[in-house]
């Protein structure tokens, strides 16, 4: 067994915006990572996996628990750990070379050596010839290469990557992933380990030696799956596909647990799901569904959504009782079938009925509106109520989604100028 690179001991993180409001983001997260491993943290957005990565990086302090890097406690950014960002985080006013040199400069490396090492790193990531370009001249893929060069030049043992490919298009991210794997296999970058945060199952399988599946609310590790596929990994192979299906099953069962285990109340964190997306997905399922359930992996492929977006939609559909997901598959309920075949006016009616029945917040809004003599209530009223459960930002988001649904269903109206919700059809 090779040496432990990092070790996390029951990490817990609570975000406090003000004294009354506490949000549990991570609970009791423990795992360790050995030298020579690529580990993927796979989870849906908002599951706290990025926060965990930042805790490991020393950028955020955990509320409880400890992080050890090579048996030393992490108290702040550590030499030996570098990070690659989703948004690249390049300084737009520095050239490629200057960006790469920045980390060395901060370490006080002499100019000659600095330049030599920077050029070598640029060479390794294949950016030769772009040294004097500014980031804005480069395409997304090239920018992320600069991000890699900047991280590699300080010769880290551990490379942390926060969704490094998710803002790139499919071809570019494929290309960059392969180059990174090649670099890793050949051992050119002196890396001892890579920890990758992603919501892309495909990406996790094609890169990682171990996949940690993350659950949300609060974030915790649900499964620890080793991946024993030979590299390069061909996604056409049955073993790859089996693993893909298995992970979908694990992830969807974890999300449908929400409904089964916890009653949905006002504190339910409504995912970002637009009405048009929900309807589109329902109609697609209706169209595709032959007999029995539709595989999630297949569905994800035909609707061209990544797992994160897809699961957000199916979660809502499940809760509204339009679909039922289980064991990595999904099928329409009777109501879902009826909805998919209805015209838009009929759809609105069905949608309204299901919202009132299954989403307590919608019912709550309508009840409050009905009680008021003029049937009008300021949005702030509900925001204040939601802030008992969510951060301000989340409360805004949840209410925005709910308002969109309510407007579509013609349950209530909303005037953005006055910030007032009102009853569409006062009784």
């Amino acid at each position: 067994m090779s040496e432990k690179l990092i070790e996390l001991k029951s990490i817990k993180k609570i975000f406090r915006n003000d004294p009354q409001q506490e949000l549990l983001v991570l609970e009791d997260v423990s795992f360790s990572m050995c030298e020579g491993e690529i580990v993927a943290l796979l989870g849906r957005s908002g599951s706290g996996k990025s926060t965990l990565l930042r805790i490991i990086a020393g950028l955020i302090e955990p509320t409880a628990g400890e992080v050890y890097y090579r048996n030393k406690k992490v108290n702040g950014p550590v030499h030996g750990i570098a990070m690659v960002f989703q948004s690249f985080a390049l300084m737009p006013w520095l050239t490629v070379l200057q960006n790469v040199e920045l980390g060395l400069e901060a370490l006080g490396v002499k100019k000659e050596e600095r330049r030599q090492r920077a050029l070598k790193a640029i060479d390794i990531v294949g950016l030769d010839g772009f040294e004097s370009a500014f980031p804005k001249e480069l395409s997304g893929g090239m920018r992320q290469r600069v991000g890699f060069a900047r991280a590699l030049v300080v010769e880290p043992n551990l490379l942390l990557m926060d969704e490094p490919f998710s803002s790139l298009d499919v071809l570019t991210s494929d290309n960059l992933r392969n180059d990174l794997l090649e670099l890793w296999e050949e051992g050119r970058a002196k890396l001892k380990g890579i920890l990758l945060v992603t919501h892309d199952i495909y990406e996790a399988i094609s890169m990682a030696d171990r996949i940690l599946i993350f659950d949300s609310n609060p974030g915790k590790i649900l499964h620890d799956l080793p991946v024993h596929l030979p590299r390069p990994r061909d996604d056409e192979l049955p073993a790859f596909k089996n693993l893909l299906d298995k992970i979908y099953t694990l992830m969807t069962s974890s999300s449908s647990d929400i409904e089964a285990e916890t009653k949905i109340d006002l504190s339910y964190r409504v995912p970002d799901a637009q009405v048009s997306e929900l309807i589109g997905l329902l109609e697609t399922i209706e169209y595709e569904e032959a007999e029995g359930a539709l595989d999630f992996s297949y569905l994800a492929e035909i609707v061209q959504l990544d797992v994160d977006e897809l699961l957000a939609l199916t979660e809502v559909l499940d809760i509204l009782h339009f679909t039922k997901s289980q064991d990595g598959g999904i099928h329409l309920t009777e109501a879902g079938e009826k909805f998919a075949n209805a015209d838009i006016l009929e759809q609105k009616k069905i949608f309204a009925r299901h919202l009132m029945q299954y989403i307590p917040l919608v019912k709550r809004i309508c009840d409050v509106l009905r009680k008021r003599s003029n049937n009008k209530v300021s949005k702030k009223y509900f925001l204040a109520e939601l802030e008992d459960y969510f951060s301000d930002e989340d409360a805004e988001r949840v209410l925005r989604v709910i308002i969109e649904w309510g407007r579509f269903a013609e349950l209530f109206a909303y005037d953005d100028n006055t910030g007032k919700l009102s009853l569409e059809n006062p009784e």
Binding site: R16, R54, A57, G58, L59, I60, E61, P62, T63, N75, G76, P77, H79, I81, A82, M83, F85, Q86, S87, F88, A89, M91, P92, W93, L102, G103, E105, A106, L107, G108, Q116, L119, E131, S132, F134, K136, R150, V154, N417
Partner: protein
């Protein structure tokens, strides 16, 4: 590894003709500024007359002195910005006090201050011209600094979180972080605000050079004094010379300083824009010279050397779990107590100072005067909008016209309008016009251009598709204005009108009392009140006048402009 860097392609080390020319210009600039600086510190006693010659051959020298004052003020503005702006952005306790304070200071009529500050500065430098000199520079400083500081603060607040994280991950020290991340990020805004501030301060530089203390006139050598003397002696051609000189100076500093700076600051922008870059003669020149390249890279190296010092802590977790020690809590508590006490003392002192020698009826009288000036400002903004909105829209919709008119409008906005006041006064005297009405346009003379160039910018940035869509549906006439143009330019118009109104308030101090030789025209208003008592050095009345003006400006800002601005941000911003 041998590589060719795009930035310094060394074909030949031999200097070329452009090198010589550029070198000459740079050396000349330094020499001139040094000369002017030595002149500032000559011995001087209050009461001693400084002679201002109306001979136009003195004008270049006077212009130099004026420009030097502006740059000294700018230097202090930047210093203030880097310290106070950064403090406000990084410490939330400091922020709570600094930002509202600056917001208020922004709307204080600067010119009213002059008579108060000069007393302080003369006491500080008793036997030197430095006293009045500093007072003038202080006025210029106060006219420049607030929006630079606010702009810098806002930039720092919007610094992307991932850049901060990257800086932490790569162990940049506090000092390095400030110079390598924060200042560069703020750079485009900083340059833009410096430019706006410099334009605005021309107006005050002209007004602040001729100072009256205790019935004593001090004329600091400069264009402002030149024109003040010319007005006193009713010397028409001297006024014309001064105007021409000013035109040349503004053109020069625009070409030599700001255009190159703007062009350079392009690289600090986060995203790629397709805006046409301004061209500058000096940049063209710079690109052709090698010597200056070396000079430039020397300064660049010096900058890098200074900024890469590893001062301050470098290992910072961005988000600490909040476990505040008792010690810091007490410090914070003391800090708030101190601020509260200072506020109380200030209120009591001000009230005692004003009411000690003044009666309530006098205060009411001043409030009434404030209403007169308010009416003038409102009517003027309305009239200017009627004129400039259609013109601006017409120009903005035609890209060729925009390219010609836009720089002219911006130029006019930076031209100190008080230089042309005498011309208006001559007209009023000659045609025997009503003083109350016809001095009013002076207030808006310099600031109306803000409406024009903002409207042009707004009209020019309207998406072409919207105009085509309107045409397609045959939207014409008043409907076209109401549904397309006016909402489209609204955010821009509000910005322009707000700036114009703010400028008009300030200008009222010099515009409501104007003179030409023996003629002095005096309108009824708050500006005239402040100007009159400034001339006689009646401090309680000056304080009252300024306080009332602050009150009006603040009230109007909060009740009219702020809501309009918010509305513009929320409703009319194109997504």
């Amino acid at each position: 590894m041998l590589r060719i860097w795009r930035n310094n392609q060394l074909h030949a080390l031999r200097p070329n003709l452009w090198d010589g020319l550029a070198f000459l210009i740079v050396i000349l600039l330094f020499a001139l500024l040094a000369f002017a600086a030595t002149q500032m510190a000559t011995p001087y006693h209050v009461g001693e007359a400084l002679i201002i010659h109306l001979n136009p051959s003195y004008l270049p020298y006077y212009a130099l002195r004026t420009v030097l004052r502006m740059f000294i003020a700018l230097f202090f503005s930047l210093l203030f910005t880097f310290i106070v702006g950064a403090l406000a952005a990084k410490n939330k306790h400091a922020e709570r006090f600094i930002i509202p304070a600056i917001d208020i200071l922004q709307s204080v009529p600067i010119l009213g201050f002059l008579s108060i500050t000069i007393v302080i500065f003369i006491a500080l430098f008793p036997n030197s011209i430095l006293g009045p000199e500093c007072a003038a520079i202080f006025v210029i400083f106060t006219s420049q600094v607030w929006n630079i500081t606010l702009g810098f603060y806002q930039s720092l607040k919007t610094l992307p979180y991932d850049l901060k994280e990257a800086a932490s991950m790569f162990h940049l020290s506090t000092w390095q972080r400030f110079w390598r991340i924060e200042v560069p990020f703020a750079m485009p805004g900083l340059i833009w605000n410096i430019m706006m501030s410099m334009s605005a301060s021309w107006f005050f530089v002209v007004a602040s050079e001729a100072i009256t203390v205790n019935h004593q006139n001090i004329f600091l050598p400069g264009i402002g004094s030149y024109i003040a003397v010319a007005i006193k002696e009713a010397h028409f051609s001297a006024v014309a010379y001064a105007i021409i000189t000013m035109l040349i100076v503004i053109l020069l500093y625009d070409q030599i300083l700001f255009r190159p700076l703007i062009q350079w600051s392009e690289r600090f922008k986060m995203d790629v824009s397709n805006e046409k870059r301004p061209t500058a003669l000096l940049v063209l020149l710079l690109n052709k010279t090698r010597l200056l390249h070396y000079l430039g890279s020397f300064f660049a190296k010096l900058f890098v050397l200074l900024t890469s010092l590893r001062l301050g802590q470098s290992i910072v977790a961005l988000e600490r779990e909040t476990s505040r020690s008792r010690y810091t809590q007490i410090t914070v508590w003391l800090y708030y107590c101190l601020i509260l006490t200072l506020c109380l003392i200030a209120i009591i002192a001000l009230a005692r100072f004003i009411f000690h020698s003044l009666t309530v009826s006098q205060v009411l009288q001043v409030l009434l005067l404030g209403i007169y000036t308010t009416i003038r400002v409102v009517v003027l903004i309305f009239l200017c909008s009627l004129i400039w909105v259609p013109v601006g829209v017409w120009v903005g919709m035609r890209s060729q016209a925009t390219q010609i008119i836009q720089p002219i409008a911006q130029f006019l906005a930076s031209f100190p309008a008080n230089l042309v006041f005498p011309i208006v006064v001559i007209l009023i005297v000659k045609f025997n016009l009503n003083v109350e009405i016809w001095t009013a346009p002076l207030m808006i003379l310099g600031t109306q251009w803000y409406i024009l160039f903002n409207v042009i910018a707004g009209a020019a940035s309207l998406p072409k598709e919207l105009c085509l869509a309107a045409k397609n549906f045959n939207v014409k006439g008043w409907l076209w204005w109401r549904k397309l143009i006016l909402p489209g330019i609204f955010p821009f118009y509000v910005t322009g009108a707000m700036t114009a109104a703010g400028g008009a308030w300030n200008a009222s101090i010099v515009a409501e009392v104007v003179s030409w030789g023996a003629h002095t025209l005096r309108a009824t208003g708050l500006g005239a009140y402040i100007a009159t008592y400034t001339a006689t050095g009646n401090f309680p009345k000056i304080a009252l006048g300024i306080s009332v003006m602050c009150l009006y400006v603040l009230l109007i800002n909060r009740l009219v402009w702020q809501p309009m601005y918010n509305l513009a941000q929320k409703r009319f911003q194109l997504y």
